[in-house]
Subunit: 669 residues, 2 copies
């Protein structure tokens, strides 16, 4: 065995030991899934990947995404070996006060992607690899997947798109350990899983290679070659054994996510020592870390591209004083500011203030079209802006951006999950992704949006064709649950313009929101411009568009229902009934102060009206916000499955048109 392999085997051995210790200490966690991946991680982090562990956010670093997030002990163990986590911290895994969570989150500063819902990592990797090309950088993106998660459709969306975009800078690895949580994998039950996966990825246009996942030398060889792929993405299918190295559970069912008790832990560590005798006797630093190339070697290893970890086998002196000893000087990850990730990423973003648009009051224009127009303006204001659309660019008007900036437009085809995954990757690499499709089809990407929120990604999302007002296409094309879905994402903001001016300004606001997902809900039909072009629409506000000193009710509308509310206002005025009307252009965060104040002046009575189901929509948001006060709230919302028809017929059928509003006002006033 050569020196490099001995070193890597030692690292893998150390990481295996720690994976056992961490999970046993925690009393839960996925030790067997970690052990199967140990050699892959050793080869990647300690030889193949070119990155500087001291500058995690160096834009030239190779990136690593642990798609099989439950195997995070092995990732933490790797960063311990890299000197960034203290032993004590490592053993705090899964504790409330620790940043080392049960699945990777950004509370751990060396996380590349929040994972834990399977089948998402490769989508994010596609985004990172595209971002590399967009920003003309040579870094590579490595994504480690489990074999079970390959059944997720999201993986195959990514596989198709990676080929379409010729992502020769994307390398997937399948830790093909045969066993899932409760059963062998589908492919393992059908025959030789690695051969099947190879055929499947090859048919999707990937270079696919099978390797012994416990042979570090073979891994280095195949991964290094993959790193230099000329013309296509590469999938490395690593034949591994779950729990490799410990007889107690190696390649056995029933040990997924099972931690060992004290006695078992002792046995397992002994078995490990026995199995990896050479690795066990390999020299360590005083801190117990594997002795790697020393500081000087690390520097030699660095290229101007920011490389830090490439092993330099020619120069082996001082190997006992490895660069890993830097670890102790850092104080570990728990002392780091966990919230530092996003500020660092968005450093480059200055606040964008677009000039006022030129829409004129009374002109009819669809807010979805304005989305496209504003996006073009943002594209001019910032090179960071990229647009992704799921094959409806002529409906969402993302096509306007494509025409203006074809090299910053990414066609995601009908693959909404991957579109959102790609956007996470773009965000992570410092670009500003705007994604668009029909509001209803965003439900296809709900889990990806959920994980994006957990990963603090600042996605800008536009859902067009909201509500029954789309008309003839029928219920399958109507977004009627998107407000609820988007409100439920931590740190999200939810915007819903009713006219061109507010739509334009709100798209601008999205560009300036970096703390989470911003959602813009747009309407299919043209609506009249009601605002002066100079008006501003700050996040967290609303507009009082009608108010008098004798209002009997406050009607809160948004989007298409605002116009119905205004019609009702006019109609009722003719009958001598006065109502206040609020345009709730920002649904989250809610401007409770204004709502409360106008409601108080309107007989403490509110009617909300929305082109959305009641659950989680505007009515419930408002009701909950004022529910501890003496304010009545009545709701008009879509309460039954809609159908095809003319928009006005459907608004009437749902009981959310001007007539329904006027009727309700008379009932409650």
């Amino acid at each position: 065995m050569n020196e490099k392999s001995a070193f890597l085997n030692r690292v893998a051995y150390q990481m295996r030991q720690w994976s056992i210790k961490m999970t046993s200490k925690a009393g839960s966690g996925h030790v067997t899934s970690s052990l199967s991946a140990a050699d892959i991680i050793a080869a990647l982090f300690f030889d193949v990947m070119q990155f500087d562990p001291d500058q995690f956010n160096n834009p030239n670093n190779d990136r690593f995404i642990l798609s099989k997030g439950h195997a995070v002990p092995i990732l933490y163990a790797a960063w311990r070996e890299l000197g960034k986590i203290t032993d004590e911290e490592l053993l705090s895994y899964r504790e409330f006060t620790s940043v080392l969570e049960g699945h990777p989150t950004f509370r751990f500063a060396y996380t590349e992607a929040a994972t834990g819902s399977l089948g998402i990592g490769l989508s994010i990797g596609v985004g990172q690899a595209l971002a590399a090309k967009q920003t003309k950088r040579d870094f590579k993106t490595f994504v480690l997947m489990g074999d079970s998660e390959v059944s997720e459709g999201s993986v195959w969306e990514a596989a198709q798109l990676a080929t379409f975009y010729t992502l020769n800078n994307l390398i997937g690895i399948i830790d093909c350990n045969r066993l899932g949580q409760s059963t062998p994998t589908m492919e393992a039950l059908e025959g030789d899983a690695p051969e099947r996966f190879k055929k499947m990825f090859a048919a999707f246009g990937w270079q696919a290679e099978i390797v012994d996942g416990h042979d570090v030398s073979a891994l280095v060889s195949v991964l290094s070659a993959a790193r230099e792929s000329a013309d296509r993405p590469v999938m490395i299918i690593a034949r591994t054994k779950k729990g490799y190295g410990v007889d107690l559970f190696e390649d056995q069912e029933g040990f997924h996510g099972k931690a060992l008790n004290e006695q078992q832990e002792k046995e397992a560590l002994a078995q490990l020592r026995e199995r990896f005798k050479d690795a066990h006797s390999y020299p360590s630093t005083s801190s117990g870390r594997t002795a790697g190339p020393n500081e000087a070697q690390a520097k030699l290893g660095k290229t101007e591209r920011g490389t830090g970890c490439a092993f330099t086998s020619e120069d082996e002196e001082e190997k006992n004083n490895g660069w890993n000893s830097r670890a102790e000087n850092q104080g570990g990850v728990n002392s780091q500011n966990a919230s530092s990730v996003r500020p660092e990423l968005v450093e480059g973003y200055e606040r964008i203030s677009l000039p006022n648009p030129e829409y004129k009051k009374g002109d009819a224009i669809a807010t979805r079209k304005v989305y496209g127009q504003a996006l073009v303006a943002l594209g001019a204001a910032s090179d960071h802006v990229v647009s992704l659309d799921a094959e409806v660019k002529n409906s969402t008007y993302a096509e306007l951006f494509e025409k203006a900036y074809p090299d910053r437009f990414y066609q995601s085809f009908i693959a909404e999950q991957n579109m959102v995954g790609m956007a996470i990757g773009f965000d992570r690499r410092g670009l500003m992704p705007f994604v668009s499709t029909f509001a209803c089809f965003l439900t296809r990407a709900h889990d990806h949006l959920r994980m994006a929120a957990i990963g603090q990604a600042a996605l800008r999302v536009c859902g067009s064709h909201a509500g029954v007002s789309i008309g003839q296409d029928g219920p399958s094309q109507m977004g009627l649950e998107d407000i609820a879905m988007m409100r439920g994402l931590p740190e999200s903001i939810v915007l819903y313009p009713s006219d061109a001016v507010s739509a334009y300004k709100l798209v601008n606001e999205m560009a300036n929101y970096h703390d989470g997902i911003s959602y813009l809900r747009t309407t299919r039909m043209a609506t009249p411009v009601i605002y002066d072009a100079h008006e501003s629409f700050p996040v967290g506000g609303c507009k009082v568009v009608q108010q008098s000193d004798r209002d009997q009710v406050l009607v809160i509308g948004a989007g298409v229902t605002l116009h119905e509310a205004l019609k009702a206002h006019e109609k009722l005025a003719q009958e001598g009934v006065s109502i206040a009307v609020i345009d709730l252009y920002c649904i989250k965060p809610l401007d409770v102060t204004t709502i409360r104040s106008v409601a108080r002046a309107s007989h403490n009575t509110i009617i909300t009206v929305e082109d959305h189901y009641l659950a989680g929509g505007i009515g419930e948001a408002v009701a909950a916000a004022v529910s501890s006060e003496d304010i009545e709230v009545h709701h008009l919302a879509v309460s039954h499955l809609p159908r095809s028809g003319k928009p006005e017929e459907l608004l009437a059928d749902a009981g959310i048109d001007a007539q329904a509003i006027a009727k309700k006002v008379k009932e409650v006033a």
Copy 2:
């Protein structure tokens, strides 16, 4: 050309004509997508498929799913040719009063699956094909997809599972017309799309064949062979042209979903006549329908398997008096009871009343485990019950059912979208599917659930591991938006038991709910049994578990928070503060009457406490329900991104534990 081909060409020609007329009349709709599929539909409906159009629900009929739902004009035109839709009805397409919606829904009695969100049809087809095997029937399931939708991951989940389950009774067809809505398809941009698709499906284990999609004779040949596949699913890749038959738009971009104006329509129909001269001059019935085999022939064509439409070329006399003339006698589809679909399907279901379970008060047992136990009991009570699980059966306890009824358990592996799609297919074919996975991972199938609701499918869904109380695994594994998602499905019911008895009874209730999706939210941790085994838990009810004549506040909890509320009750009682406590085991529909009445007796003050985000959760549901009354509602819910930790730490961190409740009570009492 032989007689059969001449007949099929004529049918296709007629259907093309009508597709143009319908969309032109409606002023919207997808004519070009219909024209590319006309010959495929002709071959399927008028030769290959074995079914009786007079008995649409005959369980032996071959089934057809239009996955590319936007091409529904061609489906309606086919049913006109089959005599089930009058010409006048056909021209009511997309009108409010018509059952012929813009995408197929069950308001049209001959719909097999509600579609319109792409990439779902094949999943449903997998379910139907499995149902055929489960019920030991020989019918085949045909699924017509567009080429654009093949980019959806859901398709590849279905592709893997169809191979795994050796579905030789499932035939997919790709209408490979090169053009999507706004761009050529991904595969078309990369080269020869049909060859690429063939390679991809073959690698996934399918028999894949390319055919000229405008040659009815070739189509009949390849589809008939596919119908007899011995050992695997078959994908027919039909080379077609979008808008085939009309020069105006054939194979051209920019015509997706575009209806023709009057002048264009005239031109198009003329071009069609010119192009299909022979078909145009083929004899018709007096009603203008294509003259097919006559009544006698149709009967000849029938097998005891319920076949109705097989063309019998030997006997061609009386072809001018086709069986299609039956059409006129039926009065058309608009006169049919659109809501008849479900009752017909559930005819076979008698109400199930399981014996009381044997849980004892005080025993600790997780509601997720009770789900599995109750499912076993249901399996004994009804052969209709099948269980599907997404590779977490040992966590959801679906494994108990698998052990008891291995032949009725379907492992869906980590493919939640396909699991739900399969369940839709099972339901459609008269089985009673229960699907289970972690509540959070149901978000992956949100669009499929949405389409299931549009399709009135009575899915029984269990989401386990709800809320922060799962503990150490961290936020990626916590269902915190599932209540909102499930409440937002039309006709859904949402159940959330807090103990074993209520869980058991509620699973029983799910079996008796046939009008839509029923959702059961279960908890990871064991909770004490608080109810007597004889208590009942009707849908739409709640339990008043603590009440006195001096309650200062009503606390509403559910699941794990009910136990926190009970602890708070005890703690506060010691301090002399009395509260009422409601167990909201049914969140939708909400028992407003009881809530209102208890609140009125508790100083008109409610505190809701839930292990879920506020948006669309219990707090908002309750607030909205009483928002027009003089009742204060305060909310305790998860308001920030959680982390890993012990359940009790996380409940405290989220402010939803007993202590937080007690504190809130003191604040507001």
